[in-house]
């Protein structure tokens, strides 16, 4: 039993390392071979270790087996010897055999290069996240399906299509040129941001899995910070944002896996260490004069780590949302801006602005917000909006929360 747990932990961490290194050797042309070798290696480990004692150094065992399998394959396969190996050998100046380098440095380099290779605008964002989870994070297909609330067949198809696309576009697994980094980094950061959000806001009931998604997004972002060429303000801003959000992990989900709203969170459960970390990386992000959406979102998240309500806090949050929206519109930012306006300038002002957001009338959060704004101002109207919100809401947790607010408002009216 204990072996199984060890194997599954090792699988996650070592799978992604070996895959990245082998994938770089084989290229997207033959990435399936790399993935098969890794699968075979872990299958063999499961069989052997299940029956016998574990080897003294399981990681080294895995690396040796994977290396040998890769080398065997390269020797055996004629197409490979002619096409791919020839190119590799020419490059690596090794005439005898191909070096499979599983040193920490090469693993990190390979993962970074893989990150740039996967995050390509030619494949849809969903597929980028899926591939990142599979190749960079070592998640199983069933776990990815669970995270996306989908099934294994759909995910498998999605990943196959994406790999095919990368092959067609002859995407190379390599680090982009210095002058290209900024542009390429944009896609990489967006994928990491979406990966984090997938975990943070997902409706999947698997709380542990969701947290893992967030931690993986943070790990990959940190990999970029550790690399000199990609340790840029914008990357630090994204990492800071993730730290601030992650600091509320324990406080935002209750025992039943339901979301606890910011206002109702027990701030004792906020993780101070992550808040400090977020602040430090926000300071590192302030080098230079570039202000990206990640900077603004990190700054907003920073203000949310200050529990005490003050006019100053909400005025700052309001102005940050103004800037964020001017930079890039999103429904969530529009709603949150209006909430900040209510906190900073009063509900009456916010109602006028909220009523203008006619593009959001089909969104249950919009009606929840109006329900909140009209509470205590025009309770009958508040009730109408909450009832519309109840009708539009999809998840059970949200329906419960809205029903609770309706009940509260009804008792107030009596």
């Amino acid at each position: 039993m204990q072996n199984n747990k060890l194997i599954s932990n090792l699988f996650r961490t070592e799978h992604r390392k070996v895959t990245a290194v082998l994938a770089r050797v084989f290229g997207f042309e033959h990435i399936q071979i790399a993935e098969d070798i890794v699968s075979d290696t872990f299958l063999l480990a499961t069989e052997k270790w299940g029956q016998n004692k574990l080897p003294d150094n399981p990681t080294a065992w895995l690396y040796t087996v994977a290396k040998n399998k890769a080398k065997d394959h390269l020797k055996r396969n004629t197409i490979f010897t002619q096409k791919v190996s020839a190119a590799i050998m020419a490059e690596s100046s090794l005439s005898e055999e191909v070096e499979i380098d599983l040193s920490e440095k090469n693993i990190n380099d390979s993962q970074l290069q893989m990150m740039f290779a996967i995050c390509q605008p030619v494949i849809p964002a969903e597929a980028q996240i899926g591939l990142a989870l599979r190749i960079l994070c070592g998640f199983g297909i069933d776990e990815i399906a669970d995270a996306f609330l989908s099934n294994k067949e759909t995910i498998n198809k999605r990943l196959l299509r994406a790999k095919e696309k990368l092959r067609q576009h002859k995407v190379k697994i390599e680090f982009p040129d210095t002058h290209e980094i900024n542009k390429r980094l944009e896609t990489v950061l967006l994928t990491l941001y979406l990966l984090f959000n997938e975990g943070y806001y997902s409706v999947s009931s698997n709380t542990n899995l969701r947290k893992d998604l967030c931690l993986e997004a943070m790990r990959l972002t940190y990999l970029l910070i550790e690399n000199k060429a990609t340790d840029l303000p914008v990357v630090n801003a994204l990492f800071s944002l993730m730290c601030f959000h992650a600091s509320r992990f324990e406080a935002r989900i209750d025992k039943n896996g339901e979301m606890i709203l910011y206002d109702e969170q027990d701030s004792c459960l906020w993780n101070d260490e992550l808040i400090v970390k977020g602040t430090n990386y926000l300071i590192r992000a302030s080098r230079g004069d570039q202000v990206t959406r990640y900077h603004l979102e990190a700054a907003i998240a920073y203000w949310h780590t200050i529990k005490t309500d003050s006019a100053e806090k909400w005025e700052n949050v309001l102005q940050l949302y103004n800037k964020l929206l001017i930079l890039e519109y999103s429904p969530m930012a529009a709603l949150n801006r209006t909430y900040a306006l209510a906190k900073a300038g009063g509900k009456e002002k916010a109602i006028i602005e909220a009523e203008k957001l006619t593009q959001l009338t089909g969104n249950h959060l919009y009606h929840s917000l109006l329900g909140y704004l009209y509470s205590g101002v025009a309770n009958e109207k508040a009730l109408q909006h909450l009832q519309t919100a109840l009708k539009l809401a999809k998840s059970k947790g949200e329906k419960n929360r809205i029903a609770k607010n309706i009940k509260k408002l009804n008792t107030l009216k009596k």
Partner: protein, 113 residues
């Protein structure tokens, strides 16, 4: 949805020196107004402010100082918004903070080439 250019005009001698504190006070209503438009997803381009210095170039090599042609009114900046009609665009422009300091907004539909 069509696009409309909002041209912000005000008194020519409006732009004097401000302290940082005053600038902050002036910028808040503008940021709130722009943020409000962006929240409605109708801000196509935030546009820019224009410096008060300028020259007018006329035929026959005549160049005059001053960004204004005839009247003592200056274009202070511009934005582009999205609206269903000129009337709707004009209705939206009623919220512009330049009105509070005696300025005005010219609303013009942008015709696509």
């Amino acid at each position: 949805m069509n696009e409309f250019l909002l041209i912000y005009r005000r008194e020519a001698d409006f732009d004097t020196q401000f302290t940082a504190e005053q600038l902050k006070e002036i910028s808040k209503p503008w940021m709130d107004w722009m943020g409000g438009l962006a929240a409605q997803s109708i801000l196509a381009d935030r546009g820019n402010r224009l410096d008060s210095a300028g020259k007018v170039v006329k035929p026959n090599n005549v160049v005059t100082n001053g960004a204004y042609v005839e009247i003592k009114e200056l274009i202070g900046g511009y934005s582009i918004i999205k609206a269903a009609s000129l009337d709707e665009a004009a209705e939206i422009a009623k919220g512009c903070p330049i009105l509070a300091v005696g300025g005005n907004v010219e609303v013009r539909e942008i015709l696509q080439m």
